[in-house]
Amino acid sequence: MKFLPLVIANLMRHKLRTILTICSVALALFLFASLRTVTTTLASGSEVSSAQRVIVQNSTAFVIPLPMSYANRLSSVPHVQSVTWANWFGGKYGDGKKFFAQFAVDPKTYLGMYPEYSIPEDQKQAFFKERSSAIVGEGLVRAFGWKVGDNVTIQGTIFPGDWTFTIRGIYHPAMKEYGDDAFMFHYDYLYEKYPDRVTPGWYILKIDDPAAAPVVMKTIDDQFRNSNAPTKTGTEKAFAAGFASMWGNVKLLMSTIGMAVVFAILLVTANAMMMNQRERTSEVAVMKTVGFSDRRVFGLIIIEAAVISLTGAFLGLGAATLLPIVTGFGEGGFLPGFHVTGGTLAVGATVALLLTVASGIFPAWQAAKLPVVQALRRVE
């Protein structure tokens, strides 16, 4: 609009002040967006869950395993199409500094249950054939430089000893949120060494109709309720959400810090705007004499605040969006699929608008109210 050159010229009067203020806004919104993204990423795990998969775990505790005999009994439950299981291995690789999940799985049924892990067919077959082989995620390849055919030794913590595996395949997750740093090997490889201790940690079932989930869940839990290993069955979505909730009140922490950050920057921006106005009372008086109405003067100052806030927001939100992409942060690890969502951008833009109003309203109101005659008398 035609008044923009005037607004920008006013901001350029103190270039350093304007630049520093814009940078403050950018930093604040970068931080705000990143914090919010932690929350959205933790929630995203449950969002990408399949509605057709159901997890059966021991109801006493997730860490207590279930009997192998359940496999057959679960597959005869109505609506259940396929059954697989897995066990948490929890070993240490190298100095243990980089943590990654290791699972003992039933190869054919497990990979069939999770088509989201895309693996070249020949690698899949090689994995099926060899009991001491493993499939690893491409994130582990990036982290450790492993190749297909490499031998990898992991120290068992729950299952003592040094365990050597041969990598026969590398998987690529269909979505980043699935994580790309899992290590999967044969359940039987674990079982043959500790036949007295190893039973499935949890079962995963595929059901034919998502709407049947509640019925399936109830049937299974009722069936095993009074046995030695009572079950708790839930949708994959609920299961993932439960895991995310283990972080504690992360949401509260992130939003509290986010608010503090925005408020701190509001103070910086408001201060800059007020300093700008203090130095311009005579100019405002002259403009009113020329014919600028009170309302127009008010609007010009709000636009000035908007230029600062929106430019800063653009830079800050832009950096927050680009950084994970550029640095590859969020490929596996605790926060797989870390990326700034549209929702976060929308909230960030709203914050920028609020910043505009909050920082601009007082100076704008003062300028609108400025009595021209008194201001001019002061001047002359």
Partner: protein, 388 residues
Amino acid sequence: MKIPLIYNLRSVRQRPVSTALTALGIGLVVAVFVAMLALANGFVAALVQTGSSDNVLLLRRGADSEMSSGIPREAVSIISASPHIAVGADGKPMISPETYIVINLQRPGGDVYSVANVVARGVSERAFDVRRNIKVIEGRRFASGQSEICVGSKLSGRFANVEVGNVLRFANRDWNVVCRFTANGSSFESEIWGENEQFQNVFRGQGFQDVAFRLKDPASFDEVKRTFLADQRIQVDAHRESEFYASQSELLGNILRVLAIMITSIMAVGAVFGAVNTMYAAVSSRTPEIAVLLTLGFHPRSVLASFLAESAVIAFIGGLIGCLLALPINGVVTSTTNWASFSEIAFAFRVTPTLLLSGIVFAVVMGVVGGFFPARRASKLPVIQALR
């Protein structure tokens, strides 16, 4: 000649709003700094507090947490015979074999899947003496052979049915809550304790997960470690109890600390920018006075020092405000899952005097950094120009 501070005070009073906004901005950064580090400190402290340096914790060789460990009965008998174990007042060795399991308790107000992993520790009578600082504050210890449990004080209020007199149900059994205990703020306060035999029946069969004992001679730890390493009959590793629990806090503790520093650093840059703006404006509005001061014979260095001092004082006040804002969080209890042990631990935010002091120092540093260039400009003012 030093410029009297009263000059700065009077000048600051002329622009109260700008000064207040700058101080408040710095204050908020300090508040976040103190609060986040208090969170990290609280978490670490709870774990560090859990172990004492004259206790030894034995786990199966290679196990990195109590949960993944397993020690058979026979091994416990062998261990009990060790001459390194301190003897209690009653003549019996101070040794505590324990069962360790993590159960799921539902969080009140959440759905069925919103659960927390709570440690259920099977113990013998000895545990209350061997594990330090355990104090029963309500009720009595569980009786042998009964389905009774004692509950750590931090579980109160965070889960249902954990008060003395309640019946808590887990593992398909009802358990009477007969006592509540504190443990000096350590992670034991987030645990449920019951009789070894009861828990073994329900959970894990006949073995134990860990054995803790008091050293007869605290200095003998290294020898103890070597002895157990060499013993072929049992496959255990000896850890100094304090070091073990401290190492369990490392992962999350470091993450929290790094997060705190990263977030407050970014905020600090913003606050410093605000201070820079304020000080430049202060300098330019006081240009005539500065010129007069310089003409009168005040050294440029004094002008520099004067403005730096002003900036530092504003920041100092901001730091005080920030500390006051963060102080109420001390003692607030929060919880998270310690991924190292896969169990939930409740702990209190911990604001220490050192932390508050660092907050203030941080504030002053922000003020000095922000005020430096404007102060330099003031000291380098071309006098003639300024007087015109």
